[in-house]
């Protein structure tokens, strides 16, 4: 690598009042150990302080630096420049979210969906404190643990055409998180959650494209979670038709 080598980043720029965005190119110093987020930070520090984007931990835990990198949803802290060098890199905000500014998307819609599935443990009967902990076997933990690894980075939303087409579809991460609680042996909230989950577009818009699972940085497998939610709903619906079924 030549000293002083640079790599070109085409970065999406858009102000709140703009109806469309434009791309601006930046020639950033090329470093083998830099990730895309390092390059963006360099732009912000040395070239253009007006560039807006979210980031925090730089280590794939906080879930705030998700962007479209050459059209692929990814955590910008996890994608190395050397994967693209000497070609340029196109950086855009996550697809299918309203853009607040530049690479920052509006989270309100996602957060409202997340809240609608009540992502917390719901007990039928709350035990008094002196009755002790709610115990769980390793197997009961394994039943939902995978789905609890979600960091709400929303890459799965940007990978899902149904999210782009249907505003009311709950989307991969939210459904996986609903499963995380529904499959928890300490939780009895499935009934309450079913109002949002089993709405017409809640889970049923999903056509199992499967890209949500491919782009997930935490191996949550939201696509599998959604299909399991459909199967669970169908089993429950048919069991109620049987005379000996529940309720």
């Amino acid at each position: 690598m030549a000293r002083g080598a640079t790599i070109k980043l085409d970065v999406f720029r858009c102000r709140p009042e703009d109806e469309r965005g434009t791309f601006r190119s930046y020639d950033v110093p090329y470093r083998e150990h830099w990730v895309v987020l390092d390059a963006l930070n360099w732009i912000k520090d040395y070239m253009d302080g007006t560039l807006s984007y979210r980031w925090s931990c730089r280590m794939g835990v906080c879930g705030s630096c998700g962007m479209m990198i050459n059209g692929q949803p990814a955590l910008s802290c996890a994608v190395f420049l050397k994967s693209y060098y000497p070609n340029s890199i196109r950086v855009e905000p996550l697809s299918y979210f309203p853009v607040d500014r530049d690479l920052m998307i509006d989270l309100e819609g996602f957060l409202a969906k997340l809240k609608s599935i009540k992502p917390w443990i719901i007990h039928e009967d709350e035990k008094p404190l002196e009755a002790g902990e709610y115990l769980q076997t390793p197997g009961e933990l394994a039943a939902f643990k995978q789905y609890s690894m979600c960091i709400n980075c929303m890459l799965c939303y940007a990978a899902c055409p149904v999210v782009g087409a249907e505003e009311d579809f709950l989307g991969p991460a939210v459904i996986a998180l609903a499963q995380r609680y529904n499959l928890d042996s300490r939780d009895q909230g499935a009934e309450e959650r079913s109002v949002a989950i089993d709405a017409d577009e809640g889970i049923w818009g999903c056509t199992f494209v499967g890209e949500c699972t491919e782009v997930c940085p935490k191996q949550v497998d939201p696509a599998g979670a959604i299909q399991r939610a459909k199967v669970a709903s169908a089993k429950n619906w048919y069991s109620k038709l049987l005379p000996w079924g529940e309720r």
Binding site: P161, V162, A165, E166, A190, E191, S194, V195, D198, A199, D200, G202, W204, G205, T207, K230, V231, S233, A234, N236, W237, Y238, K240
Partner: protein, 115 residues
């Protein structure tokens, strides 16, 4: 539990998907290769086989569920291609088509005569 009506259509879709996955390739080999090669002489045996009542019922189940599998999938393809606003009309068209296919299957299988 709260349920959307979609649970019903989806259950037909997935049961039909299983039926189509299990039966279609072999049926296609049968009708595409075996029957043409056996020629007209095979009619009596084939008639006897398909008019055996358990087979008729099985064929009906395969056809009914597979029709709804296809109807549901086609509806969702069209919705994903941008026709979400017409989803009501698509439902009538696709599930209606599947219903017509199912009724036709019931009629054909009921009037096979005995082998």
């Amino acid at each position: 539990m709260h349920h959307s009506k979609e649970v019903f259509w989806w259950s037909l879709f997935s049961a039909g998907g299983v039926m189509a996955a299990l039966f279609m390739p072999a049926l296609m080999v049968a009708t595409g290769v075996i029957l043409p090669n056996r020629g007209p002489a095979a009619h009596a045996q084939i008639h006897e086989t398909v008019s055996f009542w358990p087979v008729r019922i099985l064929l009906f189940v395969i056809l009914f569920l597979s029709f709804f599998h296809c109807g549901h999938r086609v509806k969702h393809i069209l919705m994903d291609l941008g026709l979400r606003r017409a989803s009501g009309a698509l439902a009538v068209l696709c599930y209606g088509g599947a219903s017509v296919g199912t009724l036709a299957a019931a009629y054909v299988l009921a009037t096979l005569g005995s082998g």
